[in-house]
């Protein structure tokens, strides 16, 4: 091969973080290559399904005219708290969700990611798929100067590399930005199915008046056998995304098989009727980095930055990740543009990226909920005891037994005392508040 393949910037991974970075840099006039190991952008990606548009609007102000492949706007959302045979459902529906474009849409990544990557390609970024970056190339002083791939003549050089490799953060480790693999305590495993249903039938079941309405439900309690974790049910255009996510640790400790947990969820008496007659069209599993703010990698080194799942940019409590990734990708891209202008790709210069992020919801939210993962793991009663208790209480409350109401109230309180003492409850609430306030 004659000459080196040289670009202004290399992006590893064509997920939301990588594409946002590439798009930002290409629009800024840089010659950018995105290297993606999957057959197409998004081939390796999976998520529950709610996508928030604010971050996209930041990167691509005219995204709506470019017809993004959204499934349904989220016009009703809330929580189901399952006990083994019941559910308390708290849903919020509002006319104010009915606007275009909406704040949130359900999305299937196999459709969305290729569209997003196309926008970057249209801006001039070069997308190379089916190619795995195997290692970072460094100069004698340890600065990152490019990447090597699994292709013949596969070395590419650039003064700055943005790692958006996803949860399996091998390059981030190689860059020296994080010390080791994520411990299973801080990685969640999500399994999901896409179940096909005719749009009309779907709308009837979920009480939707048309294709411009959709539901997003987070599910707690029995869905994870009372263990820390959540389930979700989202309506797509003509189908349902349903899944469960739990920390890897919990699967291991309790010897649970992810697909059995999902199967159990699908067969819950409250859930089953929604799925009846649907055909499973896709299933998948993916890891989610939930290491939280305190265990995030360093975000920049000499000639290198990291964004998205690789950097642990996930707000598990609010099931957000894609929007964090897009915003972070944009900030990394802007930092690379500034670095090109200054001709300075040192860690010191690129650390502006982190400072930019500190000014956004990305790091502020992550900081606020830094204790959430630890809290949930140390307080399993939130997903188990309390949810069951609420369902029991509701059952008493809503059933007339010919018992005086005063007696019923006493019974409910007695139940609370038996399952978790009042001081226990008070203590839990205090812990929850602390975890929420960061």
């Amino acid at each position: 091969m004659t000459g080196r393949l040289t670009f202004d910037a290399i992006v590893v991974g064509a997920g939301p973080a990588g594409v946002a970075a590439a798009l930002t840099m290409a629009r800024g006039g840089l010659n950018v290559i995105i290297i993606e190991r999957g057959r197409f952008a998004g081939a390796k990606n999976l998520f529950g399904g709610v996508f928030y548009t604010h971050a996209l609007a930041d990167v691509l102000p005219d995204y709506w005219e470019r017809k993004p492949p959204f499934e349904r706007p989220v016009t009703e959302q809330g929580y189901w708290m399952l006990s083994p045979d019941s559910a308390i459902r708290v849903m919020h529906k509002s006319e104010r969700y009915l606007k275009e474009p909406a704040d949130a849409y359900t999305v299937l990544r196999a459709r969305f990611d290729p569209w997003f990557a196309e926008q970057a390609a249209a801006a001039g970024a070069l997308l190379i798929t089916r190619t795995t970056v195997t290692r970072l190339l460094k100069d004698e002083r340890g600065r990152v100067i490019g990447v090597d791939t699994d292709r013949p003549d596969g070395q590419v050089y650039a003064p700055v590399v943005i790692i958006a490799e996803g949860v399996n953060n091998l390059l981030t480790q190689q860059a020296g930005l994080i010390a080791s693999d994520l411990p299973p305590k801080y990685v969640a495993l999500a399994v999901k199915e896409y179940i096909n249903l005719p749009a009309k039938e779907l709308q009837t079941r979920f009480g939707l008046s048309g294709p411009r309405e959709g539901v997003a439900i987070d599910v707690f309690g029995d869905v994870t056998l009372g263990l820390p974790g959540t389930g979700f049910i989202y309506t797509d255009q003509s189908g349902i995304s349903i899944g469960v996510g739990m920390l890897l640790d919990e699967f291991v400790t309790h010897r649970l098989r992810p697909y059995e947990v999902l199967e159990r969820f699908k067969n819950h008496p409250v859930v089953r009727p929604y799925l009846e007659g649907g055909e499973v069209r896709e299933y998948g599993a993916h890891l989610i980095p939930e290491m939280g703010y305190d265990r995030m990698p360093k975000l920049a080194g000499d000639g290198v930055m990291v964004a998205g799942d690789a950097a642990g940019m996930v707000d598990a409590l609010h099931r957000e990740g894609t929007n964090l990734a897009i915003t972070a990708g944009k900030m990394a891209g802007e930092t690379a543009l500034a670095a090109h202008q200054a001709g300075d790709f040192s860690a010191a210069f690129l650390s502006r990226y982190r400072r930019k992020l500190e000014g956004t919801f990305v790091l502020q939210d992550m900081k606020q909920y830094r204790r959430m993962t630890d809290f949930l793991e140390s307080s399993p009663q939130f997903m188990g005891t309390y949810v069951n208790l609420l369902n029991e209480a509701a059952l008493r409350y809503f059933t007339a037994h010919g018992i005086p109401k005063r007696t019923m109230e006493h019974e409910i309180l007695k139940m609370v005392r038996e399952r978790r003492s009042f001081t226990g409850v008070a203590w839990d609430m205090l812990k929850l508040m602390r975890a929420m306030r960061g």
Partner: protein
Amino acid sequence: MHAVVAIKQVPDTSNVRIDPETGTLIREGVPAIVNPYDIHAVEAAVQLKERVGGGQVTVITMGPPKAAEALLECVEQGADRAILISDRKFGGADTLATSYVLARAIEVINAEQPVDIIFFGKQAIDGDTAQVGPGVATRLNIPLITYAVAIEEFDLAARRAVVHRRVEQGIEVLETTLPVLLTVEKEIAPVRHAPLPRLIAAARYQPEVWTATSPVPFDPQQIGLKGSPTVVGKAYTPAPRSGGDVLSVAELGLDAVVARAMAVIEQAHVRNLQPVTGVVS
């Protein structure tokens, strides 16, 4: 050296299901790939070019606009030029119409730059007819070698080549003049992992698009549905064969089992022979 490779984009039939009601392929949601034999044909052409120290590999396909993806994959594998023959008027073509279009296209390419060898995959995995390659050779009136597995000699100056072809009993070694058309087995050349610079070249490449009228006019009577006399009478999924009887030697004894087995064989044999005996008598 100038090689032309004709390829086809096909649904990945390892994922394909048949609709039991209509008997047709369910193509929805099935990824499209370069016909597996065809990518080996491209590789064989590229390796031949390397062997003779240079030349050009031109890849052509007839198909919908989406088939451009398949051409780009061939450019990644080392093709120098890619032509997409695409027009609604070509739709519904059977193997006769397809071989007309490809032969005509190759004639035009040959007029621009003489063609020494033409490669086809041995068959497409969606139709499995193996007719288009031989059809093109017939129309061009050049030698045809089907099921080629190796090119032993290739002498441009002497205009001759020696090619191995797979037959049921083994390998046939054939000598041919050039130009020749080969339909190839996968053994003709293992597909190499394309180098990164080729991927980059392909990502920036735009295949030429030929329509039914431009830059070459095709005979409207011979293309698309009009040029396709083939009629699909019926397509169906054969019922799965039922399992045979299981005879237990322990229960019935060896002799009884053998006798029963022989009776079944004889019965089947006689039934098969009946029409023949009819003719003889």
